[in-house]
């Protein structure tokens, strides 16, 4: 899901970079207001977790690979704003040091995996109105949130790939950037995430949410909605 350089036109990556930068600026403000200094180590661990999870490439039928992101569980535990910062830092390091994801596409990748995914996951999880007492509901909500947030993020990424032939083609009809249109990109990416990677993201989310519910339930932002940290 890490879009490389040369796949997106400037008409696509510049607005996405702007959208990410604007969200990141708000995220800094929100984290300053809502996150207590006690949670600083968790933020670091969340970013490291996302970094490592994205290294677990899994094969899918059809000859491609993919991976989970960890963005859903981070949004549930630390809140979507903190998740934006944690996942974005992991993506920046992946792009600059490891060449995973392009530099021109960094804004797009951050918007997809560090903004869209955590917020989608958070809102889905909140729909279930989970209470600390109801562990099975928390598990279910965690799975659904991880599963659908990753699948929806994959579809968004595929849409960014798929609009390229419409935006930028040379006069001879050859694409300048990603050559595959929506009818190819969306089914391909949606299917592999629906069948494999979404399930992995769902399971990871479920397991980690369960663990925290057992060990430090007041930490879970999506359940306490930051109250515990506000009151210290």
């Amino acid at each position: 899901m890490h879009i490389p350089d040369g796949y997106l036109s400037p008409q696509t990556y510049i607005p996405l970079f702007g959208a990410f930068a604007a969200t990141a600026a708000v995220a800094v403000k929100k984290v300053k207001e809502k996150v207590s200094a006690r949670n600083i180590p968790y933020l670091g661990m969340a970013g490291a977790f996302s970094f490592i999870i994205m290294m677990f490439n899994l094969p899918v039928p059809g000859g491609t690979t993919g991976h989970a992101v960890g963005g859903a569980v981070i949004a549930i535990l630390l809140g979507p704003w903190a998740a934006t910062i944690a996942v974005a830092v992991a993506l920046v390091i992946q792009a600059f040091i490891f060449g995973d994801g392009g530099i021109t596409a960094l804004g797009a990748n951050c918007f997809n995996m560090a903004v869209f995914m955590p917020f989608t996951a958070y809102f889905i999880f909140r729909l279930f109105r989970v209470t600390p007492q109801n562990k099975s509901r928390a598990s279910f909500a965690g799975f659904v949130s991880g599963y659908f947030s990753l699948v929806m993020t994959a579809i968004l990424t595929a849409a960014e790939f798929g609009i390229q032939p419409l935006i930028a083609s040379s006069p001879d009809g050859r694409a300048l950037y990603c050559p595959y249109d929506l009818s190819v990109a969306v089914p391909a990416m949606a299917l592999e995430h629906l069948l494999v990677f979404g399930i992995v993201e769902g399971l990871i989310t479920m397991i980690v949410v369960n663990y925290f519910l057992k060990n430090e339930p007041e930490l879970i932002y999506a359940i306490s909605n930051g109250k515990a940290t506000d009151n210290k």
Binding site: G47, M55, I97
Partner: protein, 120 residues
Amino acid sequence: MQLVMAKRLIINKLQKRILIVLLVLCFLTPAGVLLPALFDTGDAWGEWSAQTMNEMVGYVPRGLAKYSDKWKAPVPDYTINSKDHSLVHRSGYYVVSGVLGATVTYVALLLISGFIIKNE
């Protein structure tokens, strides 16, 4: 001031446990090399090199040709030697990359959030 900063970095038992889990996960990352190799799968969708793209559609899109190699990452694709196809070596590079990347991410986030967050 320094004392305040130092105090913030003291981690509790749960956090220590999480760090250990993260380290264990780093040593399991070779699964991310071995599983795709076992099933002989290629790149992730949309992450093909210019050369692979040429094989797939018969040409290299101009934008891809122009931008794909602009940035020279110090450790491209989590490996130190991309010509080394030995699965054992690649797994080793992968673990080192995982530990390195996760550590840099962790430290960067401690610094950034330490800078942002002021309320104790």
